[in-house]
Assembly symmetry: C2
Homo-oligomer: 421 residues x 2
């Protein structure tokens, strides 16, 4: 007998998943390894930047009050009493009508409050001593980078949950974070089910296909910030599959299976959920592709039963598993980032269910536009390769035309949305 | 004496660099390790997909000509002669008024040309045999996924130089690429120069700062697709620095130094280039930050002399070193991707030189907008952390206002531009 399932909306399904969200954990890792990881706490300035007054230019540090008479008609002469490279500290007090040669980044002598740039001066010698002359006056503070003008000690500079980019790495180095507190990567277990699956290195056989889902999903897990534990393929045999899945569940935070969640005679997952005692949150979503996506929870672990169809498993992962992973990475915006874009192609066929179209996003004079990234049948892998977004076409009686504004979900973005539905 | 340098435009500088571009190399790596690497050749379909006619639904495979009389008033009865799970191959020929139960993804029996979906049928038994009935006719090809309808053997599916995303990984698996030809990562050597630099773990000292540039640039190198070889810090001592740099140059494709390229008394790089015999392409660019950026070539190797200033080195890397790295990764679009965006804030101060503003890009109803990501002085690290774009403000006598359209360069994008200037 065919089991009749009641589909729920995408929003409802996502909401059910997010009610059970898991808590992340913190680990300290070396700065060199922290790129693309997620901050487990806010980054706070551990000192002022700069932490001393310094010169932003090559030039001469001086006391501005000594220059008040300087002008185009009244050149001033100053004795050069010291030479300060970056990293050096002044040892000779700069007195009236004296200057210190100062390089970019060097600390200002305590007595000085301004810097005249090298190219505005003339150097000369007199009585074996070095002098400069120039034809202007300087204001107090002119050409000085003051302590704390970039950041003040205690400032919150980057928020917890942010992905660590090169700029943030520079900031972490500046503030002495030789080790960085990041979110531990959630461990995501993965099984492929289906007796029809061959390994990638195997030659094709009649009726069989290579297992591509496990590889694509592994890459999606890594893109989301998780760590993959691949448990291999399961044949369509109940007892074997039950033991493998319930054992793996002990070792991971989330467990993903592909295939076996439909209502076919060899779809074993529904019975496995039952035998485990997992609470099935839903087993049908009013969307294409991915309508048979099933999510269940058991003892604070998630079981994601994704379709065996490549596009459906891809979409199911991004909609339901990604936000759980990102929540464990402390993101306040765990969902795919939602934006508005204009269709650059007609999509006239109406759909009874919401459709997640694999699309290619581009810009035209700064306006976001999308086109389908391939022939959009749910069994079609090639369109996923070129997709950088999913376009959400709400179900209904009408199609969509070029120029219509539609919601899109960005696949390669690190910022996310807090609730796109 | 102050050396007078003649600044050239950004476009001219980039052009000089790209004239000397380096050739990439190919390596074969396991599929599991290929994520985010760059394809060294086009991906070609090694077989049709699907490689056999298959059923996209759970249902019954049949010969459409046997259903021509079926209608709401004329239910048809068919005998079920076999059950085909995905991966199985039909062994009993389906004859007149017979069907084979078929699961999603299973190969069609050779005699059959259509599938009736499970939910449109009633199952029953008669004389110990299984039967179904349904009330409609089917057309030839109805509910069949035909061999090659997704991809035909020989089709070029993804172009050389493309970054490998999860969808492409799925495609590679589908076509049996257990090993993937990718571009070797260019080896990028890195030195920090300057006696003022402390290591990240060291406590601050008067006049000294922690070395943040090497860490940020390392992350930029990795983001661009290169492999970092960090050679450490160099004090401002000529002979030591010359030996270290000329030795390292033998071991890398590109060598980056930060600091020491200005005209200060401790800026040693210009003399080191001379002693090596490197051809200096330029040593001053009409831009802020990064005007003192120097690029030299020697024996098919690049020497990038970036400023010691964090923002200037960041920008110098992205404009001049990134396209060389991406060219070695076979990209046809090696430069930062250029798009148009609207300023969401005034930037009224005119600049004599082109300015590369660190900006935060966002969307408003699908329109790209940018705001400065922090206080935009070239010594300010914090604005780099929040920047996802550089906004190009051409030099001139006027400032820029909210709503003005400006060119932006995207920092986190994998597509790139072939010539943004």
């Amino acid at each position: 007998m065919v089991e009749r399932r009641t589909p729920i909306s995408i929003a409802e399904a996502v909401e059910k998943v997010m009610k059970h969200k898991l808590t992340g954990h913190v680990e300290l890792i070396p700065l060199e390894d922290s790129q693309d990881r997620f901050l487990a706490q806010d980054i706070v300035a551990t000192n002022d930047v700069p932490h001393f007054n310094r010169s932003p230019y090559d030039g001469f540090a001086l006391r501005s009050k000594d220059t008040s008479e300087g002008s185009i008609n009244n050149p001033l002469e100053f004795e050069v009493v010291e030479e300060l490279a970056a990293g050096m500290v002044s040892t000779i007090p700069v007195q009236k009508n004296q200057v210190a040669r100062i390089m970019t980044g060097a600390q200002m002598p305590a007595e000085c409050d301004a810097v005249i740039m090298l190219e505005l001066t003339k150097e000369f010698e007199k009585d074996g001593k070095k002098y400069i002359s120039f034809k202007r006056s300087l204001k107090e503070g002119e050409n000085v980078s003051f302590q704390g003008e970039d950041a003040k000690k205690g400032d919150v500079l980057v928020k917890k949950g942010t992905a660590i980019n090169p700029g943030i790495i520079g900031l972490l180095a500046t503030f002495g974070y030789a080790e960085v507190p990041v979110a531990k990567k959630p461990i995501v277990g993965l099984f492929a089910t289906g007796s029809e699956l061959l390994d990638v290195h195997e030659p094709l056989q009649p009726g069989k296909i290579r297992n591509s889902n496990s590889h694509a999903i592994s890459a999606q897990i890594r893109r989301a910030g998780g760590e993959v534990r691949f448990y291999g393929k399961l044949k369509d045999e109940f007892e074997l599959s039950y033991v493998a899945i319930s054992t793996a569940l002990e070792e991971v935070d989330l467990l993903i299976t592909t295939g076996g969640v439909s209502v076919g005679d060899f779809d074993l997952l529904p019975d496995i959920y039952q035998k485990i005692g997992a609470d099935v949150l839903f087993n049908k979503v009013a969307m294409r592709p991915g309508s048979v996506t099933t999510v269940a929870v058991y003892n604070d672990k998630f079981l994601f039963g994704l379709s065996g169809n490549p596009s459906a498993s891809y979409v199911g992962f991004e909609l339901f598993a990604r936000p759980i992973i990102r929540t464990m990475l402390f993101s306040e915006y765990p969902h795919l980032r939602k934006e508005t874009a204009q269709l650059a192609e007609d999509f006239l066929k109406p759909n009874p269910f919401s459709r997640l179209l694999r699309t290619r996003l581009f810009y035209e004079s700064g306006q976001l536009k999308v086109i389908p990234s391939g022939v959009d049948k749910s069994n079609i892998t090639t369109s996923l390769a070129g997709a950088n977004s999913l376009t959400v076409l709400p179900g209904g009686t009408r199609g969509f035309q070029t120029g219509d504004f539609v919601d899109i979900l960005l696949l390669d973005d690190q910022e996310g949305s807090n609730w796109p539905w």
